[in-house]
Protein backbone atom coordinates (compact mmCIF):
# COMPACT_ATOMS: atom_id res chain seq x y z
CA UNK A 1 0.00 0.00 0.00
CA UNK A 2 2.79 2.32 0.97
CA UNK A 3 4.65 1.37 -2.17
CA UNK A 4 1.59 1.93 -4.21
CA UNK A 5 1.27 5.40 -2.82
CA UNK A 6 4.91 6.10 -3.65
CA UNK A 7 4.40 4.83 -7.12
CA UNK A 8 1.52 7.24 -7.70
CA UNK A 9 3.54 10.00 -6.15
CA UNK A 10 6.47 9.28 -8.41
CA UNK A 11 4.21 8.99 -11.38
CA UNK A 12 3.09 12.54 -10.72
CA UNK A 13 6.72 13.61 -10.67
CA UNK A 14 7.25 11.94 -14.01
CA UNK A 15 4.18 13.54 -15.50
CA UNK A 16 5.25 16.88 -14.13
CA UNK A 17 8.72 16.58 -15.61
CA UNK A 18 7.35 15.32 -18.82
CA UNK A 19 5.03 18.25 -19.17
CA UNK A 20 7.77 20.76 -18.26
CA UNK A 21 10.14 19.24 -20.74
CA UNK A 22 7.49 19.01 -23.39
CA UNK A 23 6.41 22.57 -22.80
CA UNK A 24 9.95 23.65 -23.23
CA UNK A 25 10.27 21.90 -26.52
CA UNK A 26 7.37 23.73 -28.10
CA UNK A 27 8.15 26.78 -30.22
CA UNK A 28 8.33 29.81 -27.98
CA UNK A 29 7.85 32.42 -30.68
CA UNK A 30 5.08 34.93 -30.19
CA UNK A 31 3.90 37.73 -32.42
CA UNK A 32 4.83 41.16 -31.21
CA UNK A 33 1.64 43.12 -31.51
CA UNK A 34 2.26 46.42 -33.21
CA UNK A 35 0.16 49.27 -34.42
CA UNK A 36 -0.89 49.11 -38.01
CA UNK A 37 1.52 51.96 -38.91
CA UNK A 38 -0.85 53.27 -41.53
CA UNK A 39 -1.37 57.01 -41.71
CA UNK A 40 -4.96 58.08 -41.30
CA UNK A 41 -6.18 58.80 -44.80
CA UNK A 42 -9.58 60.38 -45.10
CA UNK A 43 -9.68 61.94 -48.54
CA UNK A 44 -7.95 60.25 -51.42
CA UNK A 45 -6.70 63.26 -53.32
CA UNK A 46 -4.50 66.15 -52.24
CA UNK A 47 -7.30 68.51 -53.23
CA UNK A 48 -10.98 68.03 -53.78
CA UNK A 49 -11.69 70.34 -56.72
CA UNK A 50 -9.68 73.43 -55.90
CA UNK A 51 -9.57 73.37 -52.13
CA UNK A 52 -6.79 71.43 -50.41
CA UNK A 53 -7.34 68.37 -48.25
CA UNK A 54 -4.95 67.26 -45.52
CA UNK A 55 -3.69 64.49 -47.78
CA UNK A 56 -0.04 64.63 -48.69
CA UNK A 57 2.07 62.32 -50.80
CA UNK A 58 4.13 59.42 -49.60
CA UNK A 59 7.78 60.38 -49.30
CA UNK A 60 9.36 60.49 -52.71
CA UNK A 61 6.09 60.47 -54.64
CA UNK A 62 5.53 63.00 -57.37
CA UNK A 63 2.16 64.31 -58.43
CA UNK A 64 1.66 65.86 -61.80
CA UNK A 65 -1.54 67.68 -62.61
CA UNK A 66 -3.10 69.18 -65.71
CA UNK A 67 -6.35 71.01 -65.21
CA UNK A 68 -8.64 73.10 -67.38
CA UNK A 69 -11.51 75.47 -66.72
CA UNK A 70 -13.39 76.48 -69.84
CA UNK A 71 -14.17 80.15 -69.62
CA UNK A 72 -17.47 80.24 -71.61
CA UNK A 73 -20.41 79.04 -69.60
CA UNK A 74 -22.65 76.19 -70.68
CA UNK A 75 -25.53 78.57 -71.41
CA UNK A 76 -24.41 79.13 -74.99
CA UNK A 77 -24.92 75.44 -75.52
CA UNK A 78 -23.69 73.66 -78.59
CA UNK A 79 -22.67 76.91 -80.22
CA UNK A 80 -19.33 76.83 -78.44
CA UNK A 81 -19.56 73.20 -77.36
CA UNK A 82 -20.59 74.06 -73.80
CA UNK A 83 -17.32 75.87 -73.38
CA UNK A 84 -14.96 73.40 -75.00
CA UNK A 85 -14.30 75.83 -77.85
CA UNK A 86 -12.45 77.86 -75.29
CA UNK A 87 -10.72 79.93 -74.25
CA UNK A 88 -9.62 77.84 -71.31
CA UNK A 89 -7.69 78.46 -68.15
CA UNK A 90 -4.97 75.89 -67.77
CA UNK A 91 -3.03 74.75 -64.76
CA UNK A 92 0.12 72.68 -64.67
CA UNK A 93 1.08 71.48 -61.23
CA UNK A 94 3.90 69.49 -59.74
CA UNK A 95 4.04 68.34 -56.11
CA UNK A 96 6.63 66.31 -54.29
CA UNK A 97 6.45 64.42 -51.00
CA UNK A 98 9.44 65.56 -48.94
CA UNK A 99 8.27 63.40 -46.06
CA UNK A 100 5.06 61.46 -45.63
CA UNK A 101 3.57 64.55 -44.01
CA UNK A 102 5.19 67.39 -45.89
CA UNK A 103 4.45 68.37 -49.44
CA UNK A 104 6.15 70.93 -51.64
CA UNK A 105 4.61 72.05 -54.88
CA UNK A 106 4.70 74.50 -57.75
CA UNK A 107 1.70 75.38 -59.86
CA UNK A 108 1.40 77.47 -62.95
CA UNK A 109 -1.71 78.86 -64.57
CA UNK A 110 -2.10 80.92 -67.68
CA UNK A 111 -4.27 83.42 -65.82
CA UNK A 112 -1.95 86.39 -65.31
CA UNK A 113 0.83 83.85 -65.76
CA UNK A 114 0.55 82.83 -62.14
CA UNK A 115 3.26 80.89 -60.35
CA UNK A 116 2.29 79.42 -57.02
CA UNK A 117 4.86 77.89 -54.70
CA UNK A 118 3.36 76.13 -51.72
CA UNK A 119 3.99 73.78 -48.86
CA UNK A 120 1.49 71.62 -47.08
CA UNK A 121 2.00 69.92 -43.79
CA UNK A 122 -0.29 67.61 -41.89
CA UNK A 123 0.46 67.73 -38.23
CA UNK A 124 -2.44 66.38 -36.19
CA UNK A 125 -3.97 63.00 -36.76
CA UNK A 126 -6.58 61.51 -34.46
CA UNK A 127 -7.58 57.97 -35.27
CA UNK A 128 -10.97 57.63 -33.70
CA UNK A 129 -13.54 55.28 -35.14
CA UNK A 130 -16.40 57.73 -34.53
CA UNK A 131 -14.73 60.98 -35.43
CA UNK A 132 -11.36 60.57 -37.05
CA UNK A 133 -9.78 63.86 -37.96
CA UNK A 134 -6.67 65.31 -39.45
CA UNK A 135 -5.46 68.88 -39.33
CA UNK A 136 -3.04 70.37 -41.77
CA UNK A 137 -1.81 73.67 -43.03
CA UNK A 138 -1.11 74.87 -46.53
CA UNK A 139 0.66 78.10 -47.22
CA UNK A 140 1.89 79.70 -50.37
CA UNK A 141 3.45 82.60 -52.12
CA UNK A 142 2.22 83.29 -55.63
CA UNK A 143 3.35 85.66 -58.32
CA UNK A 144 1.10 86.91 -61.08
CA UNK A 145 3.90 87.61 -63.48
CA UNK A 146 1.85 89.22 -66.21
CA UNK A 147 -0.78 91.62 -65.01
CA UNK A 148 -1.93 94.26 -67.46
CA UNK A 149 -0.20 97.56 -66.85
CA UNK A 150 2.08 96.29 -64.09
CA UNK A 151 5.70 95.28 -63.92
CA UNK A 152 6.45 91.62 -63.51
CA UNK A 153 7.72 91.79 -59.94
CA UNK A 154 5.50 94.62 -58.74
CA UNK A 155 4.61 93.97 -55.13
CA UNK A 156 0.88 94.11 -55.94
CA UNK A 157 1.39 91.08 -58.16
CA UNK A 158 2.31 88.87 -55.24
CA UNK A 159 -0.31 86.93 -53.37
CA UNK A 160 0.06 84.99 -50.16
CA UNK A 161 -2.29 82.63 -48.48
CA UNK A 162 -2.49 80.59 -45.35
CA UNK A 163 -5.07 77.86 -44.96
CA UNK A 164 -5.77 75.66 -41.98
CA UNK A 165 -7.35 72.42 -43.09
CA UNK A 166 -9.68 70.37 -40.94
CA UNK A 167 -10.76 67.02 -42.34
CA UNK A 168 -13.02 64.39 -40.94
CA UNK A 169 -14.89 61.42 -42.25
CA UNK A 170 -18.16 59.72 -41.50
CA UNK A 171 -18.65 55.97 -42.01
CA UNK A 172 -15.75 55.84 -44.49
CA UNK A 173 -18.11 57.28 -47.08
CA UNK A 174 -18.58 60.96 -46.45
CA UNK A 175 -15.48 63.07 -46.06
CA UNK A 176 -15.82 66.63 -44.88
CA UNK A 177 -13.46 69.56 -44.87
CA UNK A 178 -13.39 73.00 -43.37
CA UNK A 179 -10.66 75.32 -44.54
CA UNK A 180 -10.46 78.79 -43.01
CA UNK A 181 -8.13 80.78 -45.23
CA UNK A 182 -6.43 84.12 -45.28
CA UNK A 183 -5.56 85.54 -48.68
CA UNK A 184 -3.35 88.60 -49.04
CA UNK A 185 -3.93 90.60 -52.22
CA UNK A 186 -7.24 88.90 -52.75
CA UNK A 187 -8.34 91.33 -55.43
CA UNK A 188 -5.55 91.98 -57.89
CA UNK A 189 -7.16 94.88 -59.76
CA UNK A 190 -7.48 96.66 -56.41
CA UNK A 191 -5.21 99.64 -56.07
CA UNK A 192 -4.55 99.28 -52.35
CA UNK A 193 -3.27 96.23 -50.61
CA UNK A 194 -6.20 94.11 -49.65
CA UNK A 195 -6.96 90.78 -48.12
CA UNK A 196 -9.85 88.47 -47.45
CA UNK A 197 -10.84 85.67 -45.13
CA UNK A 198 -12.54 82.71 -46.75
CA UNK A 199 -14.30 79.80 -45.14
CA UNK A 200 -13.72 76.98 -47.53
CA UNK A 201 -15.98 73.99 -47.06
CA UNK A 202 -16.28 70.80 -49.00
CA UNK A 203 -17.85 67.39 -48.95
CA UNK A 204 -16.88 64.30 -50.83
CA UNK A 205 -19.04 61.24 -51.01
CA UNK A 206 -17.28 58.00 -51.92
CA UNK A 207 -19.67 55.82 -53.87
CA UNK A 208 -17.06 53.09 -54.31
CA UNK A 209 -13.30 52.85 -53.94
CA UNK A 210 -12.93 54.46 -57.37
CA UNK A 211 -15.91 56.78 -57.77
CA UNK A 212 -16.89 59.78 -55.73
CA UNK A 213 -18.93 62.97 -55.89
CA UNK A 214 -17.72 66.23 -54.47
CA UNK A 215 -18.90 69.73 -53.81
CA UNK A 216 -17.17 72.86 -52.60
CA UNK A 217 -18.61 76.06 -51.22
CA UNK A 218 -16.14 78.77 -50.39
CA UNK A 219 -17.78 81.95 -49.12
CA UNK A 220 -15.68 85.00 -48.41
CA UNK A 221 -16.31 85.90 -44.83
CA UNK A 222 -14.46 89.18 -44.74
CA UNK A 223 -12.47 91.40 -47.09
CA UNK A 224 -12.35 92.22 -50.75
CA UNK A 225 -13.04 89.64 -53.40
CA UNK A 226 -14.28 89.21 -56.88
CA UNK A 227 -18.06 89.53 -57.20
CA UNK A 228 -19.33 86.15 -56.07
CA UNK A 229 -18.63 83.23 -53.80
CA UNK A 230 -17.44 80.03 -55.44
CA UNK A 231 -19.54 76.93 -55.74
CA UNK A 232 -18.32 73.80 -57.50
CA UNK A 233 -19.51 70.26 -58.12
CA UNK A 234 -17.36 67.44 -59.28
CA UNK A 235 -17.23 63.80 -60.17
CA UNK A 236 -14.03 61.95 -59.39
CA UNK A 237 -12.66 58.75 -60.84
CA UNK A 238 -9.58 57.29 -59.28
CA UNK A 239 -7.40 54.39 -60.35
CA UNK A 240 -4.61 54.10 -57.81
CA UNK A 241 -2.23 56.18 -59.86
CA UNK A 242 -4.56 58.68 -61.52
CA UNK A 243 -7.38 61.03 -60.71
CA UNK A 244 -9.88 62.26 -63.25
CA UNK A 245 -12.25 64.93 -62.12
CA UNK A 246 -15.02 66.50 -64.13
CA UNK A 247 -16.19 69.75 -62.69
CA UNK A 248 -18.98 72.29 -62.86
CA UNK A 249 -18.13 75.61 -61.29
CA UNK A 250 -18.79 79.32 -61.45
CA UNK A 251 -15.15 80.07 -60.66
CA UNK A 252 -12.85 79.93 -63.65
CA UNK A 253 -9.66 79.98 -61.60
CA UNK A 254 -7.38 77.10 -60.73
CA UNK A 255 -4.50 78.06 -58.47
CA UNK A 256 -5.72 78.58 -54.95
CA UNK A 257 -4.32 82.10 -54.71
CA UNK A 258 -6.59 83.06 -57.60
CA UNK A 259 -9.47 80.78 -56.75
CA UNK A 260 -9.84 82.05 -53.18
CA UNK A 261 -10.37 85.54 -54.58
CA UNK A 262 -13.91 84.61 -55.66
CA UNK A 263 -15.87 84.11 -58.85
CA UNK A 264 -16.82 86.61 -61.53
CA UNK A 265 -20.30 85.21 -62.19
CA UNK A 266 -23.01 84.00 -59.82
CA UNK A 267 -23.50 80.34 -59.13
CA UNK A 268 -26.86 80.11 -60.85
CA UNK A 269 -27.89 77.22 -63.01
CA UNK A 270 -27.01 78.64 -66.43
CA UNK A 271 -23.64 79.98 -65.32
CA UNK A 272 -21.82 76.73 -64.93
CA UNK A 273 -18.46 76.30 -66.48
CA UNK A 274 -17.06 72.93 -67.30
CA UNK A 275 -13.63 71.94 -66.13
CA UNK A 276 -11.49 68.94 -65.42
CA UNK A 277 -8.50 67.94 -63.35
CA UNK A 278 -6.21 65.11 -64.35
CA UNK A 279 -3.60 63.93 -61.89
CA UNK A 280 -0.90 61.34 -62.28
CA UNK A 281 1.15 59.97 -59.41
CA UNK A 282 4.70 58.91 -60.08
CA UNK A 283 7.59 57.57 -58.10
CA UNK A 284 10.65 59.71 -58.47
Amino acid sequence: MKNNFRFINNLFVVIFFYSVVNLHSQPQWKREETNDNIPLMLFHSTHVINMPTTETLQKGDLEFEVSHRFVPTIQNGIKNMFGFDGPANIKLGLSYGITDNLLLGLNRTNVNDNYELFIKHRFIEVEDSDLPFVIGVKTSVALNSEVLGKKTFASENFQYYLTIIFNTMYEKKIALGFVPSLLINSYLPGINKNYSIIFGTYLQYYLSPSFSLATEWSPTFYGIRNKYNSLSFGFELETGGHFFKIILTNNQNLNLSQFLGGADIPSTFDNWRIGFNITRLLKL
Partner: protein, 193 residues
Protein backbone atom coordinates in the same frame (compact mmCIF):
# COMPACT_ATOMS: atom_id res chain seq x y z
CA UNK B 1 12.45 -1.52 -1.17
CA UNK B 2 13.52 -3.09 -4.42
CA UNK B 3 10.35 -1.90 -5.98
CA UNK B 4 11.04 1.63 -4.85
CA UNK B 5 14.51 1.63 -6.33
CA UNK B 6 13.18 0.23 -9.53
CA UNK B 7 10.68 3.07 -9.81
CA UNK B 8 13.33 5.64 -9.05
CA UNK B 9 15.55 4.29 -11.80
CA UNK B 10 12.60 4.13 -14.12
CA UNK B 11 11.80 7.74 -13.38
CA UNK B 12 15.39 8.74 -14.00
CA UNK B 13 15.36 6.98 -17.35
CA UNK B 14 12.11 8.68 -18.24
CA UNK B 15 13.49 12.07 -17.33
CA UNK B 16 16.65 11.45 -19.31
CA UNK B 17 14.66 10.27 -22.28
CA UNK B 18 12.40 13.29 -22.33
CA UNK B 19 15.30 15.61 -21.58
CA UNK B 20 16.74 14.81 -24.96
CA UNK B 21 13.94 16.87 -26.40
CA UNK B 22 15.59 19.97 -24.97
CA UNK B 23 18.03 19.65 -27.85
CA UNK B 24 15.30 20.99 -30.09
CA UNK B 25 16.20 24.04 -32.15
CA UNK B 26 14.09 27.08 -32.51
CA UNK B 27 15.00 29.89 -34.80
CA UNK B 28 13.03 33.12 -35.05
CA UNK B 29 13.11 35.74 -37.74
CA UNK B 30 15.73 38.36 -37.03
CA UNK B 31 14.29 41.86 -37.33
CA UNK B 32 16.51 43.44 -39.89
CA UNK B 33 16.18 45.71 -42.86
CA UNK B 34 17.98 43.04 -44.85
CA UNK B 35 14.90 40.86 -44.77
CA UNK B 36 13.10 41.05 -48.03
CA UNK B 37 9.67 39.94 -49.12
CA UNK B 38 8.93 40.98 -52.66
CA UNK B 39 5.69 40.66 -54.59
CA UNK B 40 6.16 40.93 -58.32
CA UNK B 41 3.43 41.49 -60.85
CA UNK B 42 4.58 41.12 -64.42
CA UNK B 43 2.21 42.61 -66.96
CA UNK B 44 2.70 43.61 -70.58
CA UNK B 45 2.47 47.34 -69.98
CA UNK B 46 3.74 47.87 -66.50
CA UNK B 47 5.63 45.69 -64.09
CA UNK B 48 5.42 46.62 -60.51
CA UNK B 49 6.46 45.15 -57.26
CA UNK B 50 5.62 45.49 -53.62
CA UNK B 51 8.32 45.23 -51.02
CA UNK B 52 8.43 44.81 -47.26
CA UNK B 53 10.97 43.64 -44.73
CA UNK B 54 8.27 42.99 -42.18
CA UNK B 55 8.34 39.22 -41.91
CA UNK B 56 8.19 37.33 -38.63
CA UNK B 57 7.87 33.76 -37.45
CA UNK B 58 9.80 30.73 -36.35
CA UNK B 59 11.38 27.52 -37.50
CA UNK B 60 11.47 24.64 -35.05
CA UNK B 61 13.11 21.29 -35.54
CA UNK B 62 14.88 18.53 -33.65
CA UNK B 63 18.27 17.15 -34.61
CA UNK B 64 17.82 17.80 -38.29
CA UNK B 65 15.66 20.10 -40.36
CA UNK B 66 13.06 17.53 -41.19
CA UNK B 67 12.60 15.94 -37.78
CA UNK B 68 9.45 17.11 -36.01
CA UNK B 69 9.80 20.39 -37.77
CA UNK B 70 7.29 23.17 -37.47
CA UNK B 71 7.47 26.47 -39.19
CA UNK B 72 5.39 29.55 -39.22
CA UNK B 73 5.92 32.76 -41.11
CA UNK B 74 3.77 35.83 -41.40
CA UNK B 75 4.11 38.98 -43.44
CA UNK B 76 2.47 42.21 -42.36
CA UNK B 77 0.67 43.25 -45.54
CA UNK B 78 0.06 46.74 -44.19
CA UNK B 79 3.73 47.41 -44.69
CA UNK B 80 3.99 46.37 -48.34
CA UNK B 81 5.18 49.33 -50.35
CA UNK B 82 4.54 49.46 -54.07
CA UNK B 83 6.25 52.82 -54.40
CA UNK B 84 3.17 54.99 -54.70
CA UNK B 85 1.23 55.89 -51.58
CA UNK B 86 -2.16 55.88 -53.23
CA UNK B 87 -1.52 52.52 -54.83
CA UNK B 88 -0.56 51.09 -51.44
CA UNK B 89 -3.80 52.39 -50.09
CA UNK B 90 -5.79 50.79 -52.89
CA UNK B 91 -3.99 47.53 -52.37
CA UNK B 92 -4.68 47.57 -48.64
CA UNK B 93 -8.24 48.81 -48.70
CA UNK B 94 -9.71 47.37 -51.85
CA UNK B 95 -7.86 44.19 -52.62
CA UNK B 96 -6.08 42.72 -49.63
CA UNK B 97 -8.49 44.24 -47.10
CA UNK B 98 -5.79 44.41 -44.49
CA UNK B 99 -8.08 45.80 -41.82
CA UNK B 100 -9.60 42.32 -41.73
CA UNK B 101 -6.70 40.19 -42.98
CA UNK B 102 -3.54 41.95 -41.99
CA UNK B 103 -1.15 39.01 -42.26
CA UNK B 104 -0.24 36.62 -45.02
CA UNK B 105 0.65 33.43 -43.19
CA UNK B 106 2.45 30.24 -44.10
CA UNK B 107 2.55 27.46 -41.53
CA UNK B 108 3.74 23.96 -42.13
CA UNK B 109 6.73 21.71 -41.87
CA UNK B 110 9.86 20.65 -43.64
CA UNK B 111 9.12 17.28 -45.19
CA UNK B 112 12.56 16.64 -46.60
CA UNK B 113 15.87 18.31 -47.07
CA UNK B 114 18.92 17.84 -49.17
CA UNK B 115 22.37 18.86 -48.07
CA UNK B 116 24.20 20.60 -50.87
CA UNK B 117 27.25 21.38 -48.75
CA UNK B 118 28.07 22.22 -45.15
CA UNK B 119 26.42 25.60 -45.44
CA UNK B 120 23.63 25.03 -47.88
CA UNK B 121 20.46 22.98 -47.79
CA UNK B 122 17.54 22.55 -50.13
CA UNK B 123 14.28 22.06 -48.29
CA UNK B 124 10.83 20.93 -49.32
CA UNK B 125 7.96 22.38 -47.37
CA UNK B 126 4.37 21.44 -47.00
CA UNK B 127 1.76 23.49 -45.28
CA UNK B 128 -1.01 26.00 -45.37
CA UNK B 129 -0.93 29.41 -46.93
CA UNK B 130 -3.43 31.88 -45.55
CA UNK B 131 -4.01 35.11 -47.41
CA UNK B 132 -7.07 37.33 -47.46
CA UNK B 133 -8.84 34.95 -45.08
CA UNK B 134 -8.52 31.99 -47.45
CA UNK B 135 -6.43 28.96 -46.51
CA UNK B 136 -4.89 26.69 -49.13
CA UNK B 137 -2.59 23.72 -48.93
CA UNK B 138 0.67 24.40 -50.70
CA UNK B 139 4.03 22.79 -51.28
CA UNK B 140 7.03 25.06 -51.52
CA UNK B 141 10.73 24.75 -51.92
CA UNK B 142 13.37 26.86 -50.31
CA UNK B 143 17.00 27.13 -49.45
CA UNK B 144 18.61 27.41 -46.04
CA UNK B 145 22.10 28.84 -45.78
CA UNK B 146 24.05 28.70 -42.57
CA UNK B 147 25.63 32.08 -41.97
CA UNK B 148 27.51 31.99 -38.68
CA UNK B 149 24.88 31.34 -36.02
CA UNK B 150 22.14 32.52 -38.29
CA UNK B 151 20.04 31.01 -40.99
CA UNK B 152 19.44 32.73 -44.26
CA UNK B 153 16.21 31.51 -45.83
CA UNK B 154 15.43 31.98 -49.48
CA UNK B 155 12.37 30.94 -51.37
CA UNK B 156 10.59 31.76 -54.59
CA UNK B 157 7.08 30.78 -55.47
CA UNK B 158 3.94 32.29 -56.90
CA UNK B 159 0.35 32.67 -55.82
CA UNK B 160 -2.76 33.07 -57.88
CA UNK B 161 -4.89 35.94 -56.70
CA UNK B 162 -8.11 34.13 -57.57
CA UNK B 163 -7.14 31.26 -55.26
CA UNK B 164 -7.42 33.67 -52.38
CA UNK B 165 -10.54 35.48 -53.54
CA UNK B 166 -8.56 38.60 -54.27
CA UNK B 167 -10.33 40.58 -56.90
CA UNK B 168 -8.25 41.89 -59.75
CA UNK B 169 -9.10 45.49 -60.43
CA UNK B 170 -10.95 45.94 -63.68
CA UNK B 171 -10.70 49.65 -63.99
CA UNK B 172 -7.13 50.71 -63.94
CA UNK B 173 -4.17 51.77 -65.92
CA UNK B 174 -1.90 49.70 -63.82
CA UNK B 175 -2.56 46.12 -64.80
CA UNK B 176 -2.02 43.43 -62.24
CA UNK B 177 -1.04 39.94 -63.20
CA UNK B 178 -3.32 37.29 -61.80
CA UNK B 179 -0.22 35.37 -60.83
CA UNK B 180 1.97 37.19 -58.33
CA UNK B 181 5.54 36.04 -57.93
CA UNK B 182 6.99 36.09 -54.47
CA UNK B 183 10.62 36.28 -53.50
CA UNK B 184 11.67 35.84 -49.91
CA UNK B 185 15.13 36.33 -48.52
CA UNK B 186 15.45 36.74 -44.78
CA UNK B 187 17.48 35.90 -41.71
CA UNK B 188 16.73 33.87 -38.61
CA UNK B 189 18.52 33.61 -35.33
CA UNK B 190 18.27 31.22 -32.42
CA UNK B 191 15.46 31.96 -30.02
CA UNK B 192 17.11 32.71 -26.69
CA UNK B 193 13.85 32.73 -24.74
Amino acid sequence: MINDKFYRILILIFILLFSIKINANEYVVKKTKNNLVKFISEAPVENFDGVTNNIDGYLYFEENFAKNSQLYFEVDLNTVDTGIGLRNRHMRENYLETDKYRYAIFSGKIISYNKINEKEFDVNLNGEMKIHGVTKNVSLTGKIFLVGNELNIKSKFSVKLSDYNIEIPKLMFMKINEEIKLELDFFMMENKK
